[in-house]
Amino acid sequence: MSPWRNILFLWIFLCLLSGCGAHRAKRDLIVLLPDPDGKAGAITVTTGGGSQSLDKPGYAIVVEDPNQAPSTSQPMDQKEITDVFGPALSTLPDPASRFILIILYFERDTIKLTHESKDLLAEILRTVKRRQSHEVYVVGHTDLVGKEAYNNELSQKRANYVRDLLVSRGIKPNTLFVSYYGKARPLVPTRDEVPEPRNRRVEVIVR
């Protein structure tokens, strides 16, 4: 037996003992998944070295070093996701029936509901009744056209309009929670000053 072979065995033995080659730096893996309704939100991972956004479901970010920026997002296959996160995912409580989100859209620069959205009022009322809800959130938004202050006011007017409408249809005022965000939280992100009908909205969340 050559001495080299002994050295090789010794090396392997020492490796097994000490775990050499295994990188023991702290390492985080973050994977965005589709929401229960099929859409995906967005998350931002920030380290001491920078930030990285994730907005595609099934994509992952790796952080190797807290002082460096996170990796750019990479797709991760379903099998690998299940291998690593299976037990956690299978113990996640059932998301069905947590709350219902209904979005009402408005005509540009007004507190006038679009024709289609008027029909949704009945659905909101039915949902509140069916769930015997004591918590209904009414959240006003605008698109990105115009100044911030103007849009804050417009989104507030829209939210108050919907609140008053719901109260007039018999929803108890003390179960309604109104808030508004102007142009700060578009549903469809656009550049500033871009008209976007889907952002002119009031979100009604019935718990």
Binding site: R27, I30, P66, P87, P93
Partner: protein, 157 residues
């Protein structure tokens, strides 16, 4: 590898015993209301509250500053008062540093710290109503959440 893990386990146990010994009388200081409920448990899963280790059972109520800890075969899922859903896989540790859901006062805050292991997270009303008040921290980074579902794996120390 195995050696290191054993030493780590030993150190962790020693720390737990030490904390138990010094904080035995401070329990029950927290009279505030519960913030979440355990809804699923599998294998070894515990809640560490002010030094006390409580076996996680379905229906167990959680409070601010609770730590959730799972064993080698353990996992657990919880529902927060704002319908945020969170679950841990095996050998995981997570701390709920802060949770405030008071829509009547317009106060919202959720601060979660993942120490090690795997977690699945589905944001609830707080993230919908006040996304900037959600804070999810790992040993290397902070995760900003805008209404979404994600999983994370943290290798920890």
């Amino acid at each position: 590898m195995k050696h290191k893990n054993l030493i780590r386990l030993f150190l962790a146990l020693a720390t737990v015993f030490f904390l138990l010994s010094i904080s035995g009388e401070a329990i029950s200081a927290n009279k505030s209301s519960s913030i979440a409920t355990v809804q699923k448990v599998s294998g070894t899963a515990t809640v560490v509250r002010e030094g006390q280790t409580i076996p996680a059972k379905i229906g167990l109520e959680l409070y601010e500053n609770d730590s959730l800890l799972t064993g080698r075969d353990g996992s657990m899922g919880v529902v927060f008062n704002d319908e945020t859903l969170l679950s841990l896989g095996p050998e995981s540790l997570l701390v709920i540093d802060e949770f405030v859901f008071a829509p009547r006062q317009g106060k919202f805050s959720i601060a979660i710290r993942m120490v090690k292991g795997t977690v699945a997270y589905l944001s609830g009303l707080i993230t919908k109503l006040a996304p900037e008040s959600t804070h999810f921290q790992t040993p290397t980074s902070s995760i900003g959440i805008r209404g979404t579902k994600f999983v994370a794996k943290v290798e920890g120390e």
